[in-house]
């Protein structure tokens, strides 16, 4: 008979109707899957009692890919077909390869596609496909442990992941046949694991020192919404560097070590890792290598890694500065990642933030546990919606206006999911199509923001400029993915686009974009008003042209006509040469004034036309 789990009061599901949900921490070096059983969240182990699945996939010619420890075992013998750390490639284009920190020892296939593909004996594979293999292994483990099919998962991603990287993660889940309830930020998941989401508000620092990466995130929680205030870190610094520090120390101690002896280095690294782990619980450790024997004390070890720890702290300082916070404004500090087990790391973090960091939960599991708790709620296994966790968009989303200006439709830090609509109109008489250009960023002009996509709304009925009503709706779903829909309201013609940007932004780029919007705020405002006046001038010129072309000769004398043409050219010239919005504004005013008599005459004439042949009673 089936094995049952305890439900919340009144939440027992009918047989075969289980809503089994899992949280997945898809990490650079390790991945985990966790679930809530009988009200308590924990990670799931494989049959060898291993909770951590190395994020490594080995491809071979005639058998399905190996994942995890089995794949890792092939790394030395068959390095080119053993793929690790592909998370660094998620959502990246060919052009991004050069900018990725950390060494990726792969042969990239020659391809036309914008996504880099790694050459293996089983063919060229993308980071998405490799990640899908890892997710499949985790899904299998979860379904074996739960005895049924998973109905959905929550997958965690770094807070700095942009739309492209998030979309790539979703694609990997799709390939692994998983339904994604939501993607949530890793630091947010850590905060949920510690139950901090149950508080009404707070500022949280999440210090995540993994095997190969370091991330610091500052979050603000208010009314159930986690907002990422700042992120920072180093994508090529982690516990592996601690191992290298010890290994180098061992090599120095060896009486006759040969430089560049790879086998010896690997041996030293294995010993180093063991020594590091021992020193988390003991004051000294003995290291034996061939005929050499040495003792490493915790004090020695701490001295070896001190420069690395110091680097992480300066990232913390920067993150605080970016969030415009002082240390004493941080309410909670959370430790994530196996390397935070090292006592001196903990002490350094505690000393830096001047408080004791949360470290009760296993730092390797905390992100997966938080994701599992979120998944359990999204699956509907909790009675009264205790929390509907929300995230915010990191950069504003907007649309290109005439003159290369950006009109923001959704502002940054808006909680998602969100739908916002704005009405736009046509610029020219008889305009039948409208190009919609979607941009991301905080600056005022198109060139200074990031282009996300473009599409054209056709089929607008010909009307005078400004008469068409086009409703543009921006919809950002719970995963931060954007869908833009444009509809012409009189005819109902519509067109839309789902944004899957081809290239990603790094967290540094996001930071730079934010910072430049602040640094250039004044310039931007001036530029904006200049562009606005230029557009206004063009609109006036356009309208005058259209009016004079459509009118018959009777309304204007030749002299008046020439006078208007002169005014027209004068404004056109001012518009071209002047960089001062006030000057253009004055020139527009001047033309408008000189054309006033003409506007009046046109009005009268059209009223006369409209009334011609009508009885006074009909009007």
């Amino acid at each position: 008979m089936a094995l049952l789990q305890i439900s919340e009061p009144g939440m027992t599901s009918a047989p075969h109707q289980h809503r089994l949900a899992a949280g997945i921490d898809l990490g650079t070096t390790h991945s985990l899957v966790a679930t809530v059983r009988s009200g308590s969240a924990d990670t799931l182990a494989d049959s060898q009692q291993q909770h951590l699945l190395p994020s490594v996939v080995h491809y071979s010619k005639d058998r399905p890919p190996l994942v995890g420890l089995e794949a890792l075992a092939k790394a030395n013998k068959d390095p080119l077909n053993t793929l690790a750390s592909v998370k660094r490639l998620m959502g990246r284009g060919q052009n991004d390869l050069a900018t990725i920190d950390g060494h990726l020892p792969y042969q990239f296939a020659e391809t036309d596609s914008s996504v880099p593909r790694i050459q293996t004996v089983a063919g060229a594979v993308s980071a998405i496909e490799v990640s899908a293999e890892i997710l499949k292994a985790l899904r299998q483990r979860a379904e074996d442990s739960l005895g049924d099919i998973l109905s959905g998962v929550v997958i965690t991603v770094p807070a700095y992941f942009d739309d492209a990287q998030r979309e790539a993660t979703r694609d990997a889940a799709k390939l692994a046949n998983l339904t994604v309830y939501r993607l949530i930020n890793e630091p947010t998941a850590a905060a949920i694991a510690y139950g901090l989401d149950q508080q009404t508000s707070g500022t949280i620092a999440v210090y995540d020192l993994g095997g190969g990466t370091f991330d610091i995130s500052i979050l603000r929680l208010s009314k159930g919404v986690f907002e990422v205030l700042s992120t920072g870190g180093n994508s090529a610094l982690g516990g592996d560097d601690f191992d290298y520090a010890i290994a180098e120390w061992i090599l120095q101690q060896l009486p006759n070590a040969v430089a560049d002896d790879q086998a010896l280095l690997r041996q030293c690294l294995t010993l180093a890792r063991q020594a590091k782990e021992t020193l988390s619980h003991h004051e000294t450790t003995e290291i034996t290598l061939d005929h050499w024997q040495g003792t490493l004390s915790r004090t020695n070890f701490e001295a070896l890694i001190a420069p690395l720890v110091k680097k992480t702290l300066s990232s913390c300082r920067r993150a605080l500065r970016d969030a415009k916070l002082n240390k004493d404004e941080i309410d909670d500090v959370i430790l994530v990642g196996g390397s935070t087990r090292v006592p001196s790391v903990r002490e350094a973090v505690n000393a830096f933030f001047e408080r004791t960091a949360h470290s009760k939960l296993d730092p390797d599991k905390v992100v997966a546990i938080g994701a599992a708790r979120q998944a359990d709620i999204l699956a509907g296994n909790k009675p009264d919606q205790e929390m509907l966790l929300l995230d915010v968009i990191p950069l504003s989303l907007g649309i290109e206006m005439m003159g290369g200006l950006v009109d923001k439709v959704i502002h940054r830090n808006t909680a998602i999911p969100i739908t916002r609509a704005q009405e736009f109109t046509t610029f020219k008489d008889g305009q039948t199509a409208l190009s919609i250009h979607i941009l991301q960023g905080e600056r005022e002009t198109v060139e200074t923001n990031r282009s996300l996509g473009k599409f054209v709304l056709h089929g607008i009925p010909p009307m005078v400029a400004g008469a068409a009503r086009i409703k543009v709706t921006f919809q950002v779903d719970a995963d931060g993915l954007l869908n833009v829909d444009a509809q012409e309201l009189t005819t109902g013609t519509r067109s839309n686009i789902e944004i899957k940007p081809s290239y990603g932004l790094t967290d540094n780029e996001i930071e730079t974009m934010l910072r430049s919007s602040i640094d250039n705020a004044q310039d931007d405002v001036e530029l904006r008003s200049l562009r606005e006046q230029q557009i206004e001038a063009r609109r006036t010129l356009e309208a005058l042209n259209a009016a004079m072309e459509s009118d018959d000769e009777t309304l204007l004398s030749e002299e008046e006509r020439q006078q208007l043409y002169a005014g027209h050219s004068e404004l056109a010239a001012t518009c071209k040469t002047s960089e001062d919005s006030e000057v253009i504004k004055a020139a527009i005013k001047k033309l408008e004034k000189s054309a006033e008599f003409y506007v009046e005459r046109r009005m009268n004439s059209s009223v006369k036309k409209a009334m011609a042949g009508q009885q006074i009673n009909d009007i």
């Binding site: 008979m1 094995l3 049952l4 789990q5 305890i6 009061p9 308590s40 799931l44 074996d144 005895g147």
Partner: protein, 107 residues
Amino acid sequence: MGITMTEAAASRVKTFIEKRGKGVGLRLGVKTMGCSGMGYVIEFADEVDEQDEVFEFHNVKVIVDPKSLIYLDGTEVDFTREGLNEGFKFNNPNEKDSCGCGESFTV
């Protein structure tokens, strides 16, 4: 009439209630549902109703409503592991037939 609970099951229930942070005990019952007619209910209990029967095993309160007790009389609740999966198991002498998966049963 009565039911029993193994020590393994009781100690798991105790841990789960402690982790949950609230709850007076474990509520067991049956509900008409599923492919073979009835299914088991196993939930955290936050309150005890007047007509409920309360049993206690190894310091864990097990709460059963009188209607369900008719179907559960003589049942032993155990906690077991099958491969990677683990969970609670109902050894119910009243069960005459159950669907292939054992999630629902008839009496």
